[in-house]
Symmetry: C2
Subunit: 451 residues, 2 copies
């Protein structure tokens, strides 16, 4: 019955029960079990969202927001069914102010679409989680990725959010000022709340200038823990590195196999330096000295786009190299720890993978202390999935123990719920209080974040 009401309220063209749409909205890119929504809505505007939330309240039916479906923790899987909101028709630019280096967009715009629009003005939106995620999805999970070492995570890019609350109230969480000490910081609270506190309908972002010059470099080390130490050394030197990524030897071997490359099969650090040209040259020179002091090998620089692409291929194609193994599924951890604990965590991760007997590697945004494992398992081989999950869980537990977090950038969703109490202790009570205050009926993306 609620579906007919939904059609009456927002129009049949914005509502779909088509089997392929239900399937498309049943899963993300994780191995979490797929669940189809009962109906998918394609709103065009804030008014449609308000109308959908009225139906949600009237019929007491759950509602889940869906961006690009590129999530890795099942946030967009409607485990209690109900309504899924797809934002692909809400991808407009609301207000672009190049002089302020800010833009206001609807949540369905993807990060590559956004960059295409702003690059011609000399501006970039640098947050890069890999996938071409929607801005709304990236806000909802506090996404980050390779450039977080320089620009921070998604939360750090936000000036304002427009949010429709469960009761239909529309709020703005901030302003267009670059900083503010006025009122409680709701922007940061809604960022990373995974659709459990309200539905985001507009996002105002900081933009950044396109760096004048970019150079990339790569070097290798015999031991992964020296890679971690090397990353720490770069940070302490004050070089404002743009990207700094670890790829372990096993993963290099996998990528060589996948792409027919001949990268040296050693633990590798990939760098990107960007800024004014003399600055970049000085940075790369200093970085080379520091890396040689740590006995790096295979130091290689690329200063033109073609060579840069070539040099970074091993990093860029890494997840594909694992995920394209025929008949296999991959999963992985997303821990983030204080830099000083990174070496021991990387060693521990390698031990866990060895113990599991499965094929897997380590790659990391090591400038933040954030790294992932990728573990490949055969879903039809009994016990393999459990072994893979055990390594994820053991690693998350250790990360929390050393003062880190169970998820640096993927979010909680379904996979990290079980770690909330261990990581946040009594603060979980405060979080639940907020959830109850803003969503007393528990209809906004139920079954996520909290057990």
């Amino acid at each position: 019955m609620f579906i007919q009401h939904l059609i009456d309220r927002i129009g049949a063209d914005k509502v779909s029960q088509n089997e392929s749409e239900l399937f498309r909205h049943s899963h993300d890119e994780s191995p979490h079990i797929a669940v189809e929504p009962e109906v998918v809505c394609f709103p065009h505007c804030r008014k449609d969202i308000k109308n959908i939330l009225e139906i949600v309240n009237e019929h007491h039916v759950p509602v889940t927001a869906f961006g690009a479906g590129s999530g890795l923790e099942g946030q967009a899987i409607p485990i209690h069914k109900g309504i899924t909101i797809n934002f692909e028709n809400m991808n407009a630019v609301v207000d672009f102010s190049p002089g302020d280096m800010t833009i206001t967009v609807q949540p369905g715009l993807t990060r590559l679409q956004l960059n295409k629009l702003i690059n011609r003005q000399g501006l970039i939106f640098p947050i890069d989680p890999g996938a071409d995620a929607t801005i709304g999805g990236m806000v909802a999970t506090n996404a980050s990725g390779t450039t977080a070492v320089r620009y921070g995570s998604m939360r750090d890019q936000l000036l304002d959010l427009e949010v429709v609350l469960a009761d239909g109230t529309v709020i703005h969480t901030g302003s267009h000022a670059k900083k503010s000490s006025s009122g409680y910081n709701l922007t940061g609270l809604f960022a990373g709340s995974e659709g459990t506190l309200g539905i985001i309908t507009e996002v105002t972002l900081r933009l950044h200038g396109i760096p004048e010059s970019t150079m990339v470099a790569r070097c290798t080390f015999e031991m992964p823990e020296i890679c971690a130490l090397a990353a720490q050394t770069i940070l302490l030197s004050g070089i404002p590195v743009m990207r700094m990524e670890l790829v372990d030897a096993q993963s290099i071997s996998q990528v060589n196999m996948y792409g027919g490359y001949d990268y040296p099969v050693k633990h590798s650090l990939f760098f990107e330096f960007a800024g004014l040209s003399a600055a970049v040259e000085e940075e790369i020179k200093l970085a080379e000295e520091l890396m040689h002091d740590l006995s790096c090998q295979d130091w290689k620089i690329a200063d033109n786009p073609k060579d840069q692409k070539e040099l970074w291929k091993a990093r860029h194609e890494l997840s594909y190299a694992y995920s394209h193994i025929q008949g296999m599924v991959d999963t992985g951890a997303d821990v983030c720890v204080p830099i000083s604990r990174l070496p021991e965590l990387v060693i521990y991760a390698r031990e866990l993978i060895e113990q599991s007997g499965l094929n897997g590697g380590i790659l990391g945004h090591v400038g933040d202390g954030n790294f992932h494992t990728i573990i490949v398992f055969d879903p039809n081989n009994p016990g393999e999935k459990e072994k893979a999950e055990f390594t994820n869980e053991a690693l998350a537990t250790r990360a929390i123990k050393v003062g880190g977090t169970c998820t640096g950038e993927h979010g909680v969703g379904l996979g990290k719920m079980k770690f909330q109490k261990a990581e946040h202790g009594e603060a979980v009570g405060v979080m639940k209080g907020m959830k109850n205050m803003l969503d007393p009926e528990g209809l906004l993306n139920p079954g996520k974040i909290f057990m």
Copy 2:
């Protein structure tokens, strides 16, 4: 009676009703009306804070946190009397991890004390609100200052807070990881909450490397709006400027009078560039070109500490130049607007000062779009205070209208309560909901932020 209980609970040596202590804790550096607390506590540890909150609850008596008393909006004034907590005995370093570039401190440590401790390790804590505020006070007001253009505000420096809630529960809002997507972001929420949601007992901060090289520069312009345009030009160029400050001609004249200097009496932009040495040289060269393109005058560089201090004197001594006028009191606005609206706001601020007939100037952290007016009035001359306040209010109203905020860095306290509804609209309801959830009895710094 509650005072005797307080003494019994935490010890007589930590409780004072001395008249001079009550007076010291009755005011901050603003012209807001002083109110003395009934008693001042000097806790040594978290346990003392928990005990104080027990007394607060048992006797239903208000409690207000007090840092260095350097606030500018009356946040630390106990307008409903009760207990004031002074943190001067809670100024220890709990955990210093230079390799992680993080430190955990108690809230009573001041920013200069902190820097003294960490500078020898090549690290700085760069947030500089001017006063030697306590870290706790800076967190509570989301302070920032001259370096926010490079490092952001206080909220951006926080990895974790330990907070004692009104009911005595102790929570940690974050972890020691550099980034996290786990759970709701409580760290950002408690930052800037001005002691109204809980009492902060530990703060874990990001630190930064001491830049290898620092250079400063100054230039002047005929019109203040060109200064604002110049600031925007620097930002768009991608120069990662460390400080960029506007001082208007009237204020230069005031400073010349105060210090016997002969700075050119024109609207002036002061710059600081910091980083690797070749980078700094390139930045300052590019900045000079950009400023000359805008017909700047009096471009002057200083590359050694002595000359740098000399060149920046006009900026550093500015508030003293106004506040030391015999028998007079000063007040000022703290608006922050999108950079593109800065020129019109600066013109408007000058018009308002002229209309008031009072002596006053404009100084700004123009890289953030944040600027202050300083207006001097004679408290014994009827109507002058009202005229000064009128300019503050007109400016805050205009700032909100153009998409900015009534307070960029001073906080709400008493002075900006009246703008909360205009700035935040329906979001004020959400903020009040959080306040009610975390402090149902309304005993934590009552009478602040919300009308």
